[in-house]
Structure formats: structure tokens, C-alpha cells
Amino acid sequence: MMKFRFRRQGTDPQRERIKQELFAFNKTVGHGFPHQPSALAFDPKLQLMAIGTKSGAIKIYGAPGVEFTGIHGDATAVTQIHFLPGQGRLLSLLDDNTIHLWELVAGPSREVGGAKKEGVVTLKHVDSYSLPGRPGIESCSATRVTVLLLLKSCDLLCIGTEGGGVYFLELPRLSLKENQTLLQEPITQRLPDDYRCGKSLGPVESLQEHPQQPGKILIGYSRGLVVLWDLGAGRVEQLFLGKQQLESLVWERSGNLFVSSHNDGGYSVWAVTSGNACSPQPVSSTIPYGPFPCKAINKILWRTSQSGSPVLLYSGGMPRASYGDRHCLTVQQDKEHVTLDFTSRVIDFFTVHSIKPEKEFDDPSALVVLLEEELVVIDLQTPGWPSLPTPYLAPLHSSAITCSCHIANVPPKLWERLINAGKAQRGRQQTHMSWPICGGKNLAPPPKQQELLLTGHEDGTVRFWDASGVALTPLYKLGTANVFHTDCDDPHDPGDDPDLQQEEEWPPFRKVGCFDPYSDDPRLGIQKMSLCKYSNKLMVAGTAGQVIVLGFNDERSDHSVDVSVVDLLQDREGFTWKGHSRLEPRLKPAPFPPGFQPLVLVQCLPPASVTAVALHTEWNLIAFGTSHGFGLFDYHRRNSVLARCTLHPNDSLAMEGPLSRVKSLKKSLRQSFRRIRKSRVSGKKRVITTPTSKVQEANAALAEQEEVAPVQRRIEPRSADDSLSGVVRCLCFADTFLRDGTHHGPTLWAGTNSGSVYAYALEVPGVGSGRACERGGASESSSCVEAVLGKEIQLMHRAPVVSICVLDGRGKPLPDPYEASQDLAIAPDMTNAHSVLIASEEQLKVFSLPKVSAKTKFKLTAHEGCRVRKVALVLFSSAAQEDYNEHTLVCLTNLGDMHLFNIPALRPQVRYDCIRKEDISGIASCVFSKNGQGFYLISPSEYERFSLSAKVLTEPLCSVQLDRPLELTISRDGTTMQPQANGTHKTQMGQAEGQTLEPPSSLSSPILDTPLDSPLSCADLTLDSTGELTVEDVRDFLTTVDEVENNLKNMKEEEGRSPGILIN
């Protein structure tokens, strides 16, 4: 042990170099839907869409695979985003009243997968600006920005404020044009007396530029007044005396009309006629869902079309009493009228339409709606306005994710069949339209192998995602609810079905989107999954102890599922299950669509949640464990082989149903009360944000902390009669030597929460070594699988066993079923002695086989004070040498860091900080791929993808053809951000695409400027961006209520924190 510790400290330069070639930590890309989106923008020229979030992140999406991410230094909500069309620049307005300028910039070429890629572009923060408060006015609310308008010329930004003033900012320098500021006084003077009635006009609600005459803008004030203002002349062109509270304005393409939407749920059409200085009445005024009081129409769009009548799109406006709680968006054209009914709040929407000035009509082709939980795209060209499947931004959390599983290197055959099954599922909603947001160019090399990410959900579905590239796209969805009798017998997703339209109803609602967080039966939830990619068998296990084995079938099939019940208690006396009852299986044959179809259902008794599964398709065996014991089932012969109770006789708590419900309820009640109290405190203080109040706030928060009694921790060694000691934590099948050193055969290993490991020798007919021959005809006659308890290991420290893995004679993990027999992997070494690696929460330990004696160990908890949460054996390939690779044990601890160990020596290799230690759900959701990548949830809807390998990286690499004058990018303090001459860009572009013609320059830049295999690359990264970007910022997806206190916490933590790591 001592020697080993010293050796670890010594550095062997040769080994260090190899380590650098093998390991490198990078957070590469986020998958899924951004948590709490708050702003949306679209650049019609570049065909790029930007989404801002409440945590201050900006994500830009173009064609599938084209993604850029930027994070504001302080985690304040992004309230508005505006593109400078075609320039690759965008402006963001934050909740703290600051305006930020971002740029897509290029960098030097870089090596990706052996090929040189140039023209790679990243998003970079350039500058920020905040409006000064007007002197003499104590509160800054007068200059609080309400709306922004970018003129088409892109050199002027108009800022509407709460005080009613309009400010003008020169772009891209972000300098205020002091003399042009338009306050309300000159406008009120021109108003007729009866309209004025002494009141202020209210905040600026909308600013819109005249579509045909540059320099004329429409200013809408909250009270209802709309002014057409000539910027050049600095005078009022026309006044429109609206009487209703204004919500939004939109021009008609010709500029002869504009439409205003109002607070009372109505909209008005106004005519613009030159020479008429004041129009007191709109041309028409409608309340579409009247006559009863309606909610406000928040935003309205008016799009002309070639076919005649314009398309009108507006959000809100629902009758207050009957449908006031719905999140709706109405699309109407002529007689066609659809009220899209969403399951979450509408954040913003835009249409994709023709912007060429020579075209006479808008001709909208698609409507893009950003909702709080998903993105919905409606095809406006196809009759019936069907929704379009999104190739990215998939709502992973349409039902809460309960588990996940990654399958690397999927065979092409299974891949194809999955895609076909998925197509058949989506069959009816297929539209011919291609994805409308198609800006940028994906430079990433096509994935070398197909990767599959499986997510299990609370509603009993398993979703299959294509995780090969940057965009996580849905492939296929499997529902398991139809195996059982449930309240909803056909959980068909209404979003899939456009025919579900109820004709009689007014408004004509149509359910759109697939976000549906309400689970019909929590027992259906998926807890564990295992897929054999060679035999296409899938095993899923759920909350009510159900274990389903499914096989792939390309045809629709009606059959009934074989049901078996396995009693894991084995007639133990004195236990009563107080939890949920088991699911009732469906007895009649049910129709199963093409795809994975259930074959066998095994139900555990008591129906506790399944905690571990293992599948061995070559032996036709499944193993499953719950908090009471584990079972072994032969799904080919449909008989139960083994059931073993792991309960400790003293452990009565495990029997009381879902894990210690009483305790957690009490705890959660206490926590929620605390949260309410805190939110009251912080909520009050959020209103005033002067520096002094901030100090008070901090003091108050500190004082609050003082009140709480100091946290104490009891130092007690683990004892055998801890509750839940019987929970089976891991199961594994292996063909190894359990009985003696000469005969190997199938074995089953199970580890429990109290550090017990059970090893069973299995007799599988037709499988196994010489033992069968020894017994001669005996094995033929007994056609049943048998299990014999071979070994029991009780780890002294009694820590939960996290993982068990058998290593072959060369110290390599055994291959998966079928891999060796079908020559897909190197056959395991059966000549030398095997060993078993048992990872508990506290220690990693390798034991020799068949005589179980400790060979090596690493005591992680005793040395580092952290506990093992997740463990995986990963094959790392060297980035430098083509055929050099190493099997490495990757270990995620409760502190969120990754420890890498070589096997079987268990020598520590590297350590990386990965997940914030407070992010418990992130750590719990982490899943590793076999080639050194991993995923974890950074919010309920988003996976962060990371890579530990220096070679295998999946990250966005994309270029965008930009069109912008490049002479300057000077930041506010005078430092040049990107001192690149025009010419450089041109040549770069030429090299990159080889087909550049019109753009005066295009930019390219890598995501990471440093070589990827340098372990320092993360640290270097921050240097060329703002420097304040930290991991924590990305992951802080906090609710507004908790924001203040969390910011405080961050402030306090700031000192101790090392320079942050930029994600992606």
C-alpha cells in the first residue's frame, strides 16, 4: 500500500505522455431543450434561430448539427434577443437592463478527426451597454428597457423604455446618440386635448420599422397611442389614437396597414395614409373570442400571402372565464381557423417567410413557437397546418426521465430497423416540408459509428435517441403501458394525431406538442433498462417490480404476453408490504406496433421498484433485483430459476413500501416551508435593487443562516442492521471460474446495499465448459437452467456495492454476450486466472478467482472523503497512436468529480471536476458510453454531453457565411477583441468552403483554440472569452425565487473557486 502511494506521486514522463494522449476532459455539447427559455429570435438572412434562457445562456441553432452557445457572465434572465440580420451578430437584453452584443467569430483552423477543418465559428461576447438613469430621478425604472428595435440598416438600435422615452444607440459600437432621444413631451403636445387628459402615455410597448420606408418607425405606447415617427426629420408623421391598452404592433408588408393587439383580447387594423396627421379610429377592430371578457393578445403577426387573404397569428386572447388557463396560439386565414393548444406557456413565436424585397407577399412557410417546455414548428404551406418534427431541441422530459442507458456502436441492421419502426410511428403526421431553419454548415465529420441513447420515462415509455452527432434526434418511442390494464388503455400521444380535432368546439382547439408531464400511473415508470444490440432483445424494469423482455419485430402483431410472478421474499415470515399493489397484466392479446414487442412479463413480489437488472441473451437469462432480493429467470423456457431474499432479518423498514415514505414526507414539508419563507424574504427585496438594499439583503441572508443550528454529522460505523441493507444494487453475468481454476462456466453476481456479494454458478444447458461432459448425459436430460450458490462475500466496510465486473486473464473486462461468439470482439483470455472487480461506495477492490482473495484495492473514501456514485469500464483509445487503447475504470463520486483508474492495478490516473456537488440529480443521472463519453442531466430537459477521451469527441463544429463589415470590433474600454484584417478572413473562407462567391468576408473560429489533448485546454479556454464564464453559471438553472440567494451564495464562493471552465 505504501509503495503504491509513493508510486502514484512520482511522475513517469513516458506514462504522463500516454495519459495525455488518452484522457482529456471536455464538456462538448448540450442535448435536449434549454431549461426555462425566455427569449426567441430569428435571423431570416442567415436562417439561424436564437434562444435565450433565464439562466443567461444564449443558444443559436441552424441546420441540424449547427449550434453555438454563449453564456452571460452573471446568470440573469435573457428577456430579448435581436439578430443583426446577416451579420452574425446579435443583441441580447437582460433582466438587469443591460444590452449585450454577441458575435459569431472565426478562429484558426483545427484538426478534427484527422482532417483539417477551417471556418469553424464560435459565439463570442463582444460588448455590453446599460442605459444610464436620468439624472435627478431616483429610481432607474424610467430607463428600464421594455422593447428594442433594430433598424434594417443595422446601424441604429431604438430602445423603448418604461418611462416612455425612446433612446437611440449607434451600432455596433453601442454608443448613445444623446441628442436624438425622444421623450414623451413633444408627442403629448401634439395630441388632441380630449385624448391627452393629463396622463402620461405609459411605457413604450412596441417599436416597429416601416417595411418600405426606412427611417420611419411606429411607436406604440402602453395607453394605446401609436405614433408614426420620422427619424430623419425628427417629427411625428401620423398619430393613431388607440383607446385600448396596447400589447403589440405589426406592419403589413406594404406599409399601408398595421395591426395592433390589445389587452382586452382584441386587435385593430389601422390604415396609414400620408397627409392624414391623426386617425382617431381604426379601420376595423375585432375581439376574436368575444363577447365575454378575454385575456390579452400578447403578440400578433400579420402575414400576406399569394393566395389572397392574409394569415393572422396571435397568442392569447382566450375567453377569460372558460379557457383563461390555456396556452394558445391562433392561426387564421380566411375561413380556416385553428387554435393551437399547448401544454406550456408560449414564450414567443415567429414565422419563416420570404424576405426578398422584390417579392410582393410574405408567403409564410412555417410558424415556429417557443414554449416553456418545447419548440413547436407548424408547416403553414401544407393544408391543415400540420406540425413538423424537430430535428433537435427535443423535449427529453415530455414525461420525466427516470433512467437512461447508452449503447455505442449500434449494428447497422438494428439501426435501420429502428429508424423504420420510428417512421411507421410518425407515419400520419409526416409532412413534405424540410426543416425551415437551415443556416450554417455542419463541419463535423460524419459519425464513425451509430450511438443510441435510451431514456426511460415516468409514464412507462422508453425513447430511443440518435446520439451519434451533435443534435439528439428522436428515433423511436416504445410504450410499455399497453402490457397492463390501466385507466387509460391507449396512451396515444395526442400530439401525434392531427385528426383529433374537435370540430364542434369553439374555439377550435388543436392539441399540439408532446410535453405531457402528467403520468397516468406512477407504477409504470421505467427504472432500469438493458439492450442487447446483437440479438435485439430489450429488457425494461419498472417501479412496480415489473420486468419486461421485448424482442424486435418489423411487423405489427397481436399476441398476449406470458406472465410470471416471482416471489422474492421466499416465504419469509413477518413481513407485510404496505406499498403499491402490482400492476394488473392485460390478459387478452393486445396489438403491438412494429418495433420492440413484449414477449415475457415477470412481476416481482412484493412489487417494489426494480433496482438492478442484467440481461444475457446468449443464455436466454435475465436477472433482476429489488429492495428485497433478486431473481433469475429463463425467458426462453419461461421459468423462474432462482429467487433469493437479501433482506436482513432485522430490516423491517424495507417492507413498508416505497422507501421510507414517512421520513421523506416530513423532510419535504419542512423544506417547502423553508423555501416559502425564504422566497417571501427574497421576493420582497427583489423589487428594489439599489446597492444599499443589496447589502441589507446579504446581511439578512447571513442572519438567516445564523439562526439555523449548526449541521452535525454522527460518526457511526455501518452496521449490519441498517435499513435497506437488502437492496440489490448491481447484477452481472459472466462466464468465468467460480468453482475451480480449470472449469469456467456461466455465473451470476449480485451486490447489495450492505456490502454483500453473492455469486452463483449457473448450469445452462448447452453452455459451459467441461463440466457438462463430466456429467455426461445428465446435462442433456435436465433441460432446465440451474443455479448453485458458489460464494458469498461480505465486505467488511459494508458499503453498498455499486458495480461488479469480471476481468479476464489479461485483466480486461469480459465481452458482451455474442461479441465473442460472433467474432465481434477479442475473445476473453480463459487460460489465465480471472479476477472480479467489486466497486463499493467506499472502495474499489479486485479479487482473484476462483479463490476469492483480495489482489488490489483503492480506498477512495478513506483517502479522499468522497463516495463512489457511478462506475463504468471504458475503453480509451489513444489520440496519437492508432491502435493503442486501454481499459480504464471511470468513477463518478458524490462530489461530482471523475476519477480514472487503470485496471486491474487500480492505480489513479487522472481526476476531473465534472458536476457540481450540489447537483444531486445531475450526478444520479450520469451515464457513460463505452468509448469515453458521458451524459448527465443539467436540467430536467437537458443532457450535458462530456468526453473524457482525448480521441472521441462529439462537439459542434460549424461555419456560417457571414455578411458584415469587419473593420471594427472595438469593445467599450478600447481593447481590440479580434484584431483581424479583412483579407485574412477572405482567404480563410476560400480555403474553408472553396465555393465562396459573394460574401465580402466570412468568419471561422474553433470552439476550442487549444489542442484538445492538453489537459489544460479547459483552463486556457476561459482566457479568450469573458473570463467570468464558469461551470456553475451554466448549471445554475434556478427558479427566479431562489435566484437572489443563490447569487449570494455564488458571490461567497467566488474567492475559493479556480478559474472556471467554459462549457463547449
Binding site: 460518526i715 457511526e716 448453485v788 462475500i793
Partner: protein
């Protein structure tokens, strides 16, 4: 003969061995047993000391009715008894005493010359050392290398049910640094559990600051991390504390240059603790005390203590839960395992029930003929050897 009611005694006196059976709940106390042993070994009139190996391999004394019953009840079913002449050097009881005998020090008679001389010196006057019938539960170690304000305490749990019994909390510690006085976060003992190990030693107190756990600095570690480290090391916990009460510190004696540089505290159960410096116990003497050795020692000790229990289940018996349980060769994986001259290792009850599901039982019986692995044969042979010499005696 049922295993529940009988104890197999395996008695060793110098080079002689005796085996016999003993009724577990037979009447008769220590005196009767003492006479019985004298009879068996034919050593009437020789003044001897009795010791037995407890489940952890520790040599514990039998000198009254109470610990005799304890010894009998702990037998599972084997009770290993070691008899030594009282004229010999005092037997050292306590942790790892059996292993120490096995290691360098050998049987009680053979001791290294260095320690021998010390002993002869001390023997001439007062006998200094831990009281003979006490078992060490804690010790102060590394007194010479630590600053006087710090104390390194080792707690021996002996696998007893007695909890370590203390709580820790976060706090603020004031340190004097070159930059001046600085407040840094620290971990403190917040509470001692009544009757717990920590309290009974008297070496740890509320508000003591914890500086190290098994040689690892806790600075910068969170409360949860420190908790986990302590729990992970609980079977052999060495904590370095800065006592809140600095008046009871061990004072360095400059003139003291012989080996007794560690204080140790012995305690027999709850009878209180005796503080005795300069203990000649081999445990403290054999520690070369350097800064790094505390880790090394911790680790090497771990190797001893950290034996996982492995149960081999491929024995060729017909299914009978009792038989299976008893006949498995149960083996401690550490150094106290059956290496050495002892034919069978120390038995130990398993926390998990070992009864097998009936399906396995059936298959066990079925395959019993073919599956007699070497483990099974070892188990049976050891049992045979237990019987062969057995002058069966009942009290």
C-alpha cells in the same frame, strides 16, 4: 451431538495441544474449568494464565466466571484456549495480540532483545504496563512528532457493537499565519454519545478541532467528506485533534530517550480509563514514529483488519441448513486467517442469514457427488481432526 449446545475446546499449552468438547450451558464456572484444564494437561500445581481467542483473533484473558462465560458463548463452535505459565513474561492481551505473537514476536517466550532488556529493567522495580487483564481501546500516538497542542488518538473498535459515538460539526478555527490571525473553516467534535467509545476513552472532548483523519488533512474538506472518511476508517480510526482544553496535554520530557514515547489508555469495558504513559506494549514500541508512518501504519493495520468474509459454498453435503452453515470453511481473509500451525481458523458468525432457498438445496444435493472441491474437503478434514483427539468431556 448438536452444535448449538456444545463447544469444541482447542487448548494449547506450550507445545502441547488438547481437544475436547464442552457443553455450552453446562453449569460450573471458571474455577472448575481451570481445574479441568490442569487435569487435561497434567499440570497440577502449576500456576497458569488462561487466554482465549475471540472472534477477531484477539487474545483475551479468562480469569473469572464472567469472562469465562463470555468466552464460551463466543465460541462458534470452536474455542481456542492458550495456557501460559504465570512465571513467564506477562502475556499481552488486546488488539492483534494473536497476530503479534505470530509475527516477529512469536510465542510469548521469544522477544526481541531490545524490548527484553527494557522489560528486565522495569521488572526489577515496579511492573509498568497496561494492566494485564485489560484490552486496549484507545491510545495516544506520535507524541514526539506532534506539536504539544495536538493529540493523535487511535480508537480500536474490535468489531464491538459499541458505537464510536461522537458527532462532528462545521465551525471556524482561528489560526496564526504569517499574514496574521486568520479565521478558517474547521471541523469540530460537537457531541459525545453517552457510553460510546469516544466518551469512554476520555481523549476526545466536545469542541476539539479535528485536524487529520488517518493521516489525511481535513483542511478544505466538507463536513460530509470528513464524515465519510471517518466512517470508512472506523475500524481503525486515527484522529488528530487540537483539544479545546489544552491543560491535559502530554508534556514532552526531553530526557526521555527510551522507547516509551507513546501514551496509551486501557480500559476494561466501562470500568473507567487508566492513563499510563511510557507503556511498553509492543504495539507502540514497534511503531517507528515518523511523520509518514502514521499513514503507513494505518494502512498496514488495515490490511489486517479489513478482511472481507468469503464463504465458499461448494461443499459436498446434503442439504441441511444447519450443516451447511457449520461446515463451510469460514475464513477471515486477513492475516489472522488459517495460516500458521492452527488447523482451523477462528469461526465467526455471519451477519447475513445463510439458509439457502430450497431450490438450491435440492441442486446442492444433486450435484454433491461431483462437486467435492478442495474447499469442501478442507472443511471436512478440519472437522475430522477436531474429533479425532476428542476426549469428550462434559461438565
Amino acid at each position: 451431538m448438536s452444535f448449538d449446545q456444545h463447544v469444541f475446546c482447542f487448548v494449547q499449552f506450550e507445545a502441547e495441544y488438547r481437544r475436547f468438547g464442552l457443553k455450552r450451558n453446562g453449569s460450573g464456572g471458571f474455577q472448575e474449568f481451570y481445574r479441568l484444564l490442569q487435569t487435561i494437561h497434567h499440570i497440577h500445581g502449576v500456576d497458569v494464565l488462561l487466554g482465549y481467542a475471540d472472534i477477531h483473533g484477539d487474545l483475551l484473558p479468562i480469569n473469572n466466571d464472567e469472562n469465562f462465560y463470555k468466552a464460551v458463548s463466543s465460541a462458534n463452535p470452536l474455542l481456542r484456549i492458550i495456557i501460559t505459565k504465570r512465571e513467564d513474561e506477562p502475556v499481552v492481551y488486546g488488539t492483534n495480540s494473536l497476530q503479534r505473537r505470530k509475527k516477529g514476536l512469536g510465542l510469548t517466550g521469544l522477544r526481541t532483545t531490545g524490548s527484553g532488556t527494557i522489560h528486565s529493567k522495569s521488572k526489577s522495580g515496579l511492573m509498568i504496563g497496561p494492566p494485564q487483564n485489560f484490552r486496549q481501546i484507545s491510545s495516544i500516538i506520535d507524541v514526539d512528532i506532534l506539536p504539544e497542542t495536538h493529540r493523535r488518538v487511535r480508537l480500536h473498535k474490535h468489531g464491538t457493537k459499541k458505537p464510536l459515538g461522537f458527532y462532528i460539526r462545521d465551525g471556524v478555527s482561528v489560526r496564526v499565519t504569517p499574514q496574521g490571525v486568520e479565521k478558517v473553516p474547521g471541523v469540530f467534535i460537537s457531541r459525545l454519545v453517552r457510553g460510546g467509545l469516544a466518551e469512554s476513552t476520555g481523549l476526545l472532548a466536545v469542541n476539539d478541532e479535528i485536524l487529520e483523519v488517518n493521516g489525511i488533512d481535513v483542511a478544505g474538506k466538507s463536513l460530509d467528506q470528513v464524515t465519510d472518511m471517518m466512517v470508512a476508517n472506523s475500524h481503525n480510526l486515527i484522529v488528530t485533534v487540537k483539544p479545546a482544553n489544552q491543560r491535559n496535554n502530554v508534556v514532552h520530557r526531553e530526557s526521555k530517550n527510551f522507547m516509551g514515547n507513546s501514551g496509551s489508555v486501557g480500559s476494561a469495558g466501562s470500568t473507567g480509563s487508566v492513563l499510563s504513559h511510557e507503556s511498553p506494549s509492543p504495539a507502540s514500541q514497534s511503531n517507528p514514529i515518523t511523520a509518514s508512518s502514521s499513514i503507513a501504519e494505518g494502512d498496514s493495520e488495515d490490511e489486517d483488519d479489513d478482511g472481507d468474509i468469503i464463504l465458499e459454498n461448494d461443499c459436498p453435503t446434503a442439504y441441511n441448513p444447519h450443516l451447511v452453515t457449520k461446515r463451510n470453511s469460514v475464513k477471515l481473509n486477513g492475516e489472522s486467517s488459517c495460516s500458521g500451525p492452527h488447523p482451523s481458523a477462528v469461526g465467526r458468525p455471519l451477519p447475513q442469514s445463510m439458509s439457502l432457498p430450497s431450490s438450491i438445496g435440492a441442486s446442492l444435493g444433486y450435484s454433491s457427488n461431483t462437486m467435492s472441491g478442495h474447499n469442501g474437503s478442507l472443511a471436512s478434514s478440519s472437522q475430522d481432526s477436531m474429533k479425532d483427539d476428542g476426549t469428550e468431556l462434559t461438565l
